[in-house]
């Protein structure tokens, strides 16, 4: 199999290098997002749902919302600190 059909390249039915790069980048981004979602879900469940009831309470739901925001913020703080290196 030495050629791939690709909707974006119209008549040539060949995958360009750019198409391949884009597909790979998209795949990587998707996997990163999935992993992040799983991590945040786990961490925020840990923090916010200490005694699971028969449904999520209002305070548990708002805790989850805040927790997600804070975790994303924490990711940024860590990222910046790693780039700026040891002080």
């Amino acid at each position: 199999m030495d050629s791939f059909s690709n909707p974006s390249s119209g008549s040539s039915h060949q995958l360009s290098a750019q198409d391949l790069k884009n597909q790979l980048k998209n795949q990587l981004a998707l996997e990163y997002a999935q992993q992040l979602l799983e991590t945040v879900g786990r961490k925020c469940f840990e923090k916010c749902v200490t005694k699971p009831g028969s449904s999520l309470s209002g305070s548990e739901s708002s805790c989850i919302s805040r927790c997600v925001d804070r975790y994303i913020e924490a990711t940024g703080i860590i990222g910046k600190a790693l780039i700026s290196g040891p002080q």
């Binding site: 992993q35 925001d69 790693l82």
Partner: protein, 78 residues
């Protein structure tokens, strides 16, 4: 593009860049997870307190220092 082009210089450069990117993301993800556990002890609020904020950035920087220290120690063992 055919299969041999997957190994072109252009694609090699691309793979190398994406691999670097993935490694950095992995490091940030792991460290965020650990530093979150260390630093965010209470219920998450509407913003971080300054002590939580400082703890998070200290955590990352101390981790870098620890990595270097561990490496030096190992080198001392050779």
């Amino acid at each position: 593009m055919d299969l041999s082009d997957l190994n072109s210089a252009e694609m090699q450069k691309f793979y190398s860049e994406e691999q670097q990117r993935a490694m950095v993301n992995e490091m940030v993800s792991k460290l965020t997870s650990e530093c979150w556990d260390k630093c965010i002890t209470g219920t998450p609020g509407n913003k971080f307190s300054s002590s939580e904020h400082n703890c998070l950035s200290n955590c990352a920087q101390r981790y870098l220092e620890v990595s270097m220290l561990v490496m030096k120690r190992f080198q001392g063992m050779q």
